[in-house]
């Protein structure tokens, strides 16, 4: 029985991914984001069949096994774009630092305005950073790690849907700037969208994801208290 559930979860996830990917590549609409649509479909199926997260967990472990190696593979586009990195070191570093500071300030300011409790505010702080680091920052700052993980995933989806539209609206066409913006705000999920836009944008997404993680981890102990009530 467990094996059947496991296999069903694998087939369901792969099927949703392949279908929504084909749809996205056909229409290129940010709202047709494959992660967003597939997640909705899978949650709907789980709820309709009375399935729980615990049922889905073994399949999740198997499917995310290659995420580590895939992140390491980001070194490849990074290497192919090493000249961009060398020639534009200042814009890259300054852009990611400004973006990280701005998005943290914005989330805490908006969260305070909405009247959220301190522990939720702290959990919101590192939401733009890749999950393993965000969870650690949250724990060290007195937040709720599981909540932070949820905010990180939600931000990943929001940024990868909204980001490309906004960047186009303000005429940011430079693939370096687009990749950096997507990676800074939406970590791996933003990088995935940047990779679809092109190799340079994808490489910069990876750079931004790494830099934002380092910057946020380093500044959080000093920066978060300044913005908290």
């Amino acid at each position: 029985m467990k094996l059947v559930v496991f296999a069903a979860c694998l087939v369901l996830t792969l099927g949703c991914y392949l279908a929504t990917r084909a749809l996205f590549l056909r229409f290129r609409q940010p709202l047709l984001n494959p992660v967003f649509l597939s997640t909705l479909m899978i949650i709907a199926v789980l709820q309709a069949t009375g399935g729980t997260l615990a049922d889905y967990q073994p399949a999740k472990e198997t499917m995310t096994f290659l995420l580590g190696p895939a992140t390491v593979a980001l070194a490849l586009p990074l290497y192919n774009n090493r000249r961009v990195l060398k020639n534009q070191a200042l814009p890259v570093l300054a852009g990611v630092l400004c973006g990280s500071l701005a998005t943290i300030a914005a989330v805490l300011w908006a969260g305070r305005l909405a009247g959220f409790a301190r522990s939720i505010l702290i959990s919101l702080g590192p939401k733009s950073v890749t999950v393993p680091i965000a969870v650690e920052i949250s724990r060290l700052s007195g937040g709720e790690p599981a909540l932070t993980a949820a905010f990180v995933v939600a931000t990943g989806m929001i940024g990868s849907i909204l980001g490309p539209v906004l960047l186009t609206a303000v005429r940011v066409k430079d693939p370096v700037a687009r990749g950096l913006a997507l990676g800074t705000v939406s970590h791996g999920q933003g990088t995935a969208v940047a990779l679809i836009e092109g190799e340079t944008a994808g490489a910069m997404g990876g750079v931004a994801m790494a830099l934002a993680a380092v910057f946020t981890a380093l500044i959080a102990p000093y920066y978060l208290p300044l913005l908290l009530p």
């Binding site: 996830t13 991914y17 992660v35 997640t39 899978i42 949650i43 709820q47 997260l53 889905y56 399949a59 999740k60 499917m63 290659l66 580590g68 190696p69 895939a70 992140t71 390491v72 980001l74 070194a75 490849l76 990074l78 290497y79 534009q88 852009g95 400004c98 973006g99 990280s100 701005a102 998005t103 943290i104 989330v107 908006a110 909405a114 733009s128 890749t130 999950v131 393993p132 680091i133 949820a150 995933v153 939600a154 931000t155 929001i158 940024g159 906004l166 940011v172 430079d174 700037a177 705000v185 939406s186 791996g188 995935a192 679809i196 990876g206 994801m209 790494a210 993680a213 380092v214 981890a217």
Partner: protein, 121 residues
């Protein structure tokens, strides 16, 4: 076909090895970085020094990067656990996250483009 499959398997093993090495290093040195990001930086270094050639990883690497988005689907399904919080204050949280994402994307994108404007390309 079989040759490509073979290349994907052993190149993935190489990528996995560097990933584990990155994870080990951040734990041993107590660096505030996730292991996968450390592994990426490590692999970048290996490529720059020529110890690893792009040809050693590009079949598996290209495949994994092409489907990078896939890995975030099973992770996102975990959002299901936060049903009660979403029902209670989902709209407010969504608004906050949208505002913060917009600010971050615009600041980063415009800053990089403005700083790049000076250097001819």
């Amino acid at each position: 076909m079989l040759k490509t499959l073979f290349a994907i398997v052993w190149q993935s093993a190489l990528l996995w090895l560097v990933f584990r090495l990155g994870t080990f290093l951040v734990q041993a040195l107590h660096v505030a970085l996730p292991g996968n990001v450390a592994g990426m930086l490590l692999m970048f270094l290996l490529l720059l020094t020529g110890i690893v050639k792009p040809a050693h990883i590009e079949v598996a690497g290209g495949f994994l990067l092409k489907h990078f988005a896939f890995f975030f689907i099973p992770i996102s399904v975990g959002l299901m656990a936060f049903g009660p919080l979403v029902r209670q204050s989902g709209a407010a949280l969504l608004t906050i996250l949208v505002v913060a994402a917009a600010v971050g994307v615009l600041v980063t994108g415009l800053a990089v483009q403005a700083l790049n404007g000076r250097s001819p390309r």
